[in-house]
Symmetry: C2
């Protein structure tokens, strides 16, 4: 067995035991991890100092996300406890019926088994991902980025020792302490042991995982999110929503990149709305109609770029049908919003826009595990199978059928 095979096989064995652990046991596992992280904060800080010193100058953008202090370590432990407080989805019956022959069929939430989590930069993901996997009854194989390798290794060791020291199933946590990509590539082939792989990072990581995985993937794309202002909209509300969606945190995936406006109201709406955005430092890029109404707008426009910056693409559309067509052509199936007072438009937009989250009269910025009330999230799925949107504990389970008979034969 190779190093990777050994880790994965160990996780697989532990997963079978975790599958019948009750919520109380799993919560105790998490509490032991949280306490151990707190107790060993100094050790984590020492390891983190090495990673920070090693951080190359061209990765300065990562530096803030990489650097830990006592407050961040306390927040990491608190994050693990927050997961412990979330309801355990395992064992929940999601459907139940009797067949014509009297068989009782129940559909029950069960752990997926072994989850591989491949992540970048922020070392708190080591604790987050472990907590989410354990609480949902899954063993995990963690593989963090090389920038945080020393910090990740120490956090992992502390968690593992906490489980082992309290006689919990410590095989449920595995960590790949080699950062060469070939190990990650090998991990992606371990379909005999690993049931799902979740990449958590940038577009390049996602591509690498999708191109190499022989295991089902739960992937997220970046967010090219739209706000469409329909002609019946409350224009004050519309202005507030696009302002919030674009400016409140432009670097995140649920920020808006494109504003679509019905031609009927463009003249009334765009000049003041765009002036407000422009006043907040937003660069406006628009089509011909937009530039006519707001001459400060740049004519060059690209509807397929996730700017992650104070740049907004604007387009005037004929009607709702054109808006929906535009959105379905250019969105990344993440989050799109309409501002409208028409019930017909609400319905057609909700049904037709192909996205994980469709907003009616609200900002796209709400697509987030905490905002949804999931307590925490592993990532935000933009694929359509298994789970869309914020990946909380439920998305980390599968549903199996448990069927009760009294000697039924067919």
């Amino acid at each position: 067995m190779t190093y990777i095979e050994e880790l994965c096989a160990a996780a697989c064995g532990a997963a079978q035991k975790l599958a019948y652990s009750d919520a109380e046991t799993k919560n105790k596992m998490l509490e032991s991890i949280a306490s151990a992280i707190e107790k060993n904060a100094d050790e984590i800080l020492r390891a983190n100092k090495i990673d920070v010193e090693n951080c190359p100058a061209d990765k300065a953008a990562f530096l803030d996300r990489l650097t830990l202090d006592e407050k961040r370590i306390a927040a990491m432990a608190e994050g693990v406890r927050a997961v412990a407080r979330i309801d355990d989805p395992v064992g929940k019956i999601t459907a139940e019926w009797y067949t014509g022959k009297g068989l009782k069929i129940t559909k029950v939430r069960a752990p997926i088994g072994v989850a591989a989590v491949i992540y970048e930069a922020r070392p708190n993901v080591t604790a987050d991902a472990a907590a989410l996997c354990l609480k949902s009854g899954n063993a995990c194989v963690l593989r963090g980025g090389k920038e945080a390798i020393n910090t990740n290794k120490i956090i992992y060791g502390i968690m593992k020792n906490a489980l082992a020291g309290n006689n919990f199933e410590d095989g449920a946590l595995q960590f790949i302490d080699k950062t060469d990509r070939s190990y990650a590539a090998e991990l992606l082939k371990m379909s005999d042991y690993v049931d799902v792989v979740i990449p958590r990072g940038g577009e390049a990581l996602k591509r690498f995982v999708l191109d190499n995985a022989k295991i089902p993937v739960i992937a997220s794309a970046g967010g090219i999110c739209h706000v469409y202002v329909e002609k019946t909209a409350d224009l004050k509300m519309a202005s507030d929503i696009i302002f919030n969606a674009k400016t409140s945190r432009p670097s995140v995936c649920n920020a808006a990149e494109t504003l679509l406006v019905d031609a009927d109201i463009a003249e009334k709406f765009l000049p003041s709305c765009l002036a407000r955005l422009s006043g907040a430092g937003v660069e406006i890029r628009g089509d011909e109609a937009t530039v006519k109404l707001f001459p400060k707008a740049v004519r060059a426009v690209d509807y397929d770029t996730e700017y992650e910056a104070l740049i907004l693409a604007v387009k005037v559309v004929k009607d709702c049908a054109e808006a929906i067509e535009h959105i379905n052509r250019h969105n990344t199936k993440h989050s799109d919003a309409v501002v409208t007072n028409s019930d017909f438009v609400k319905e057609i937009f909700a049904k037709s826009v192909d996205a994980a989250a469709v907003y009616i009269n609200a900002s796209t910025r709400f697509t987030d595990g905490f905002e949804f009330g999931f307590g925490a999230e592993m990532a935000i799925s933009t694929q359509k199978l298994h789970a869309r949107g914020p990946i909380g504990l439920e998305a980390l389970t599968s549903e199996k059928y448990v069927i009760y008979g009294e000697g039924h034969i067919r």
Copy 2:
């Protein structure tokens, strides 16, 4: 655009229109297809005759499945109508809550989009798959096996004309009329247009799809299904269940391949149970303990083969824990049964056995879309993500979030 790109792009465009078709419209689409199949039975029979004549001698096993007659064509039309009668899952709200900030979050069933179905042999799948996809609001790209190409082409043409002739969205049905594998391989890369690929056929087809797909797959493995007779079992019931699971239709995936028996009751149970199976023509292959109790059993035993024949592997186990460990090592995550009167064993078996369907005191043979009450099935999923077990209409949908605010910003 290549031939395959054109088909897939057309399906993608049609999918967006189908997404907001109501159940009544979709049912009318299916009725138009069913009538057209009936009306054009002669044409289908003529095409089928060519396929039957072309069927090579070494594919004689397929011949029965390939050959159509008037009765089978009537059944095909009736199958389409049966799908029309199933409840439309699209638009169903599966969860609904308010967040702390008063946003109303609803989780709503929506079509997946475009499904590619790659299938073998039986031409009725052309109509079945089309009906299931349309009713669940999905456009589909069908790719049948070369043995049935003439029949498939005609059935497809009839369905397509029926939709077009009644002014329905005929782009929702696409068919690849070229049987060279390179076209199927290209289809598996169409991630810009196709949302899911479902292979329906043997192990080789599944392997080909999993190895080449850049699109999420819903796959099924064969079934190595187990019946475990625990020491508290009603032995008459146990004998009936294994007899049914092994002999009622040995060639199908939900038939049992392996019998596990607790050592405590082996002496009492095995001789008569195995004599009954042997009397029905079943070849018994067992471990040492089995051969001791039933000398007619062959000593050579292999727990990793799906026999699809009247052959049964038997093993005497120490206890429930050993049985579960054996099952999780050798099963294909399809269907496994326990016969027991112990509530503890029922619970531990249901929680620990990793399979799409876990049976308590019932035969594994019930894993089937019709038996489950789904009306029809696309295949039986043995993967753990998205959908396990019989793939009915619900498994052909995804769930998206539709979020209602009143100007909510974050």
